[in-house]
């Protein structure tokens, strides 16, 4: 017990020291509403700030402009892809060092990916690597290694796929594909990423302190291969209450105020003389949508779905509820996504919608359910209430149903879910991340669309392996027309900007290409 108390006292003291102004000079203080649980990117599908700052990946997605990105060399300084699109050969950068001094080798890369697929790891991010030959066998415990992973020499890794996958490189740039050190990670076992002592990467920052549900302290990696970061320290705090967050920011205890965590504060900051010049905003490669379950009446009829699309006044919601900070979306792909092209606009037309409902056999209107989950943010229940009022004009008598997350997931699995609204942000910059997620055979079923269109299924599978980029994009655009216009299986709403307010001393803060809250702080400076 005394040991525990001493430990507590010690962490308390370091935290205190780090918070005092003298030490805070070159420190950036940010916050997230939840604890990340671990720095291990393989074990999460949600919390990527630690992985993005502590580790590197073979390939990186670099933000080149607002909402734009390019794949650039990371730990691999170059790579070759065979003509059949099956074999990727990565040539690693020389003299990259882990935080513990170990030098990066090809074996580390093979180990990292094998660890993800090793059933003993119980990793959650395995979807990234399932295209690799032998991945499934390894996952199922039928093999002790992954046949498609090879270290040709210390500097060269060869990865073989079972079938060509156009988005493979983009996937390797996802935070889940962060590279670890074999010896260190093996020794850390299941404790890897949970404490500073059991965390080791090649990235710009080193984890120094981790107090669960309170904060993580990161320190600059002096030997970083791209050059030392400008920040000395990065403090990541857990602040779950949005009003508390705003007060922390205004009392200069936090440097970055992420409006995603307190969207209702948007008008205040845009209106405040003190802050309006310190807002950093960028598009988000993410789309707000309504999910419609086609197994449930009346949404089994495309005319009803079309009517639903047309009866939502999206511009008003965007203007009034999101303060106009975004853009209407009419397709499956939001702006900023590779292959994006403006789709056929969906008009707000309650009169036409009413006609469609009559045509479908509901002249007196029809009852529908809008689902929400009690643990989700109030953003969703707010949207449901607005949309409930809006679609009434066209004759939809919407009832709002609230359940908890477990019940919602269970209903979705059973094909019995009601329409709900959500947002999907790109994990990696490729349309496959949207189409496969929602409209592939498995996606459509597990996400409760039940848009059982064999042609769409086939086209999505085909697009995954296509090597000609232009032809591939064309296919996705055609698919958009079919899904959104013809079948009205998808109700796109809008994509929002992601706005941050930063303290005046924060420089070079840019919104990452995907618009995430989780980002690398490598380029940020404080004065």
């Amino acid at each position: 017990m005394t040991r525990k108390l001493n430990l507590l006292l010690a962490t308390g003291l370091t935290s205190l020291m780090l918070l005092s102004p003298a030490f805070a000079e070159n420190m950036l203080r940010v916050s997230y509403p939840e604890d990340p649980k671990s720095a291990d990117a393989q074990m999460t599908t949600d919390f990527y700030t630690l992985p993005l700052n502590i580790f590197d990946r073979l390939v990186e997605s670099e933000t080149t402009g607002p909402g734009q990105s390019a794949l650039v060399p990371g730990l691999a300084e170059r790579w070759d892809v065979s003509d059949d699109g099956l074999t990727y050969t990565f040539h690693l950068r020389k003299d990259v060092k882990f935080h513990n001094g170990a030098v990066l080798t090809a074996d580390d890369v093979v180990y990292t990916f094998d660890r993800m697929l090793n059933p003993a790891t119980k990793a959650l991010n395995t979807d990234i690597l399932t295209f690799i030959a032998g991945a499934e066998e390894r996952l199922d415990g039928k093999a002790d290694s992954v046949s498609g992973l090879k270290a040709l020499d210390d500097q060269t890794v060869q990865i073989t796929l079972t079938k060509p996958y156009a988005a493979f490189l983009a996937l390797l740039a996802a935070p889940g594909a962060s590279i670890y050190n074999r010896a260190f990670t093996e020794a850390a076992g299941d404790q890897f990423g949970l404490t500073p002592e059991t965390t080791n990467g090649t990235g710009p920052f080193i984890l120094r302190d981790y107090t669960l549900n309170d904060s993580e302290m990161l320190e600059a990696n002096d030997d970083y291969w791209r050059g030392r970061p400008k920040l000395d320290r990065l403090l990541i705090r857990v602040v779950s209450d949005p009003d508390t967050l705003r007060m922390l920011f205004e009392s200069d205890e936090i440097d970055v105020f992420d409006m995603d965590f307190a969207p209702t504060q948007t008008p205040y900051f845009y209106g405040a003389d003190q802050w309006k010049d310190h807002i950093v905003s960028g598009p988000r490669v993410g789309i707000y949508y309504y999910n419609i379950n086609q197994l449930k009446k009346p949404f089994d009829d495309p005319r009803v779905r079309k009517a639903f699309q047309m009866s939502i006044d999206r511009q008003t919601i965007l203007d009034k509820n999101f303060y106009g900070k975004g853009k209407l979306e009419d397709g499956v792909m939001p702006r900023g996504l590779r292959c994006y092209a403006p789709a056929e606009p969906i008009a707000y037309d309650p009169v036409k919608a009413k006609e469609l409902l009559t045509e479908a056999g509901y002249p007196d209107g029809v009852e529908i359910n809008l689902q929400q989950v009690s643990s989700w943010s109030s953003r969703w229940s707010d949207m449901n209430q607005i949309i409930q009022a809006q679609v009434a004009e066209a004759g939809f008598k919407a009832k709002i149903i609230t359940t908890d997350e477990a019940a919602y997931l269970a209903a979705r699995k059973a094909g019995d879910s009601d329409a709900y609204t959500q947002v999907w942000s790109a994990d990696f910059n490729d349309p496959d991340n949207f189409f496969y997620t929602f409209f592939s055979e498995t996606g459509s079923k597990t996400r409760g669309y039940n848009n059982n269109d064999p042609e769409v299924f086939a086209a999505i599978e085909k697009a995954r392996g296509m090597t000609d980029p232009a032809e591939r994009c064309k296919l996705y655009q055609d698919l958009t027309a079919r899904i959104v216009d013809t079948d009205a299986a998808w109700v796109p709403l809008f994509s929002l900007d992601h706005s941050f307010v930063v303290q005046p001393r924060v420089k070079h803060f840019i919104v990452p290409w995907n618009g995430w809250s989780d980002m690398s702080y490598y380029n940020v400076e404080v004065e």
Partner: protein
């Protein structure tokens, strides 16, 4: 006394086991998959099925329960599914934070509640009584998250006297302790008042009065000493109950305490963590009650005799 303590501890074992069974049943009869909840929108059925099997979550309920019980009896509460850390570690690390919050809050409630209770018993219906009783009742009547917001706004944002939130030293403790402590001051005030009124009716006070001692002397020298016995004894229970009542305070003031991890365990269906946290909290409440009874017997000889009889 020893017999009494032992007996009480023995009786509390079925209570603890009963609670784990209730909890286990409740959390298992409804849908909810910890892995699925952890992966949120990224959940893919293959991954979920595989990880569930790897974590033995697919075993029959009875098997899982007895595995838990067997390990728990050996002092191993298991590993949290979501946080991937040993439950015992998580609780022991979070506990000192919650404990210090609870103790400080209890102090605040005594500072407000005891004078309020005394005044209200002694000077009934005076202006001072109204003020103090009203003040302590005010605390009970405000939702914690609401008063916390007002306090943060006034004392941290506007007056800049105290930090808004966080947990890095005594300064950070003041606002949460006041918010939480004030909310239970009314209980202390009521208890002090009724117990003082009861004592004042007793013979020895009447005798003292009859002897012509001054009223204030009677109260401070005789009545108060006896009236505060139940108040002192309830303190142990109060600290224990504040521990579990701190959930909301911890969330608003970003205090990494036991309440926070318990709430997240409920919402993420993290059974090992939830069982551990609830067992811990329950054991504390039971312990608090036991300490209260023992204190009471030490302070009040009449009770000691009765306890001997019961044991």
């Amino acid at each position: 006394m020893l017999m009494f303590t032992l007996r009480r501890i023995l009786v509390s074992i079925p209570v603890l086991i009963g609670i784990t069974i209730i909890l286990f049943l409740m959390m298992n009869v409804v849908p909810g998959d910890p892995i699925e909840l952890m992966m949120r929108e990224h959940a893919s059925p293959d991954v979920i099925a595989r990880v569930r099997a790897q974590m033995h979550l697919d075993d029959p309920m009875v098997v899982r329960y007895f595995r838990f019980l067997w390990n728990a009896l050996q002092g191993d509460l298991g590993v949290s599914i979501k946080l991937n850390r040993p439950v015992t570690d998580l609780i022991l690390k979070a506990f000192p934070n919650t404990l210090s919050l609870a103790v400080c809050a209890a102090l605040v409630s005594w500072i407000i509640g005891i004078p309020a209770g005394i005044l209200s018993a002694v000077r009934r219906d005076s202006l001072l009584d109204r003020f103090f009783m009203g003040f302590s009742l005010l605390g009970v009547s405000m939702p914690i998250f609401w008063s916390a917001l007002l306090f943060q706004y006034i004392f941290a944002m506007k007056l800049k006297l105290l930090p808004v939130s966080g947990f890095y030293g005594w300064k950070y403790m003041i606002l949460p302790a006041i918010v939480l402590g004030w909310s239970s001051a009314g209980v202390i005030a009521r208890l002090t008042r009724s117990s003082l009124l009861e004592v004042m009716r007793l013979d020895f006070i009447r005798t003292a009065r009859a002897k012509g001692l001054r009223e204030t002397g009677v109260i401070t020298r005789h009545a108060l000493k006896n009236a505060l016995i139940p108040v002192v004894t309830i303190m142990a229970i109060q600290v224990a109950s504040l521990l579990s009542g701190a959930v909301i305070t911890e969330a608003i003031f970003s205090i990494p305490g036991v309440g926070r991890i318990t709430v997240s365990a409920i919402s993420s269906r993290d059974m090992p963590l939830l069982q551990g946290a609830v067992l811990f909290a329950t054991a504390l409440v039971i312990l608090g009650n036991l300490v209260a009874d023992i204190l009471y017997s030490i302070l009040d000889p009449r009770i000691r005799a009765q306890m001997r009889k019961e044991a």
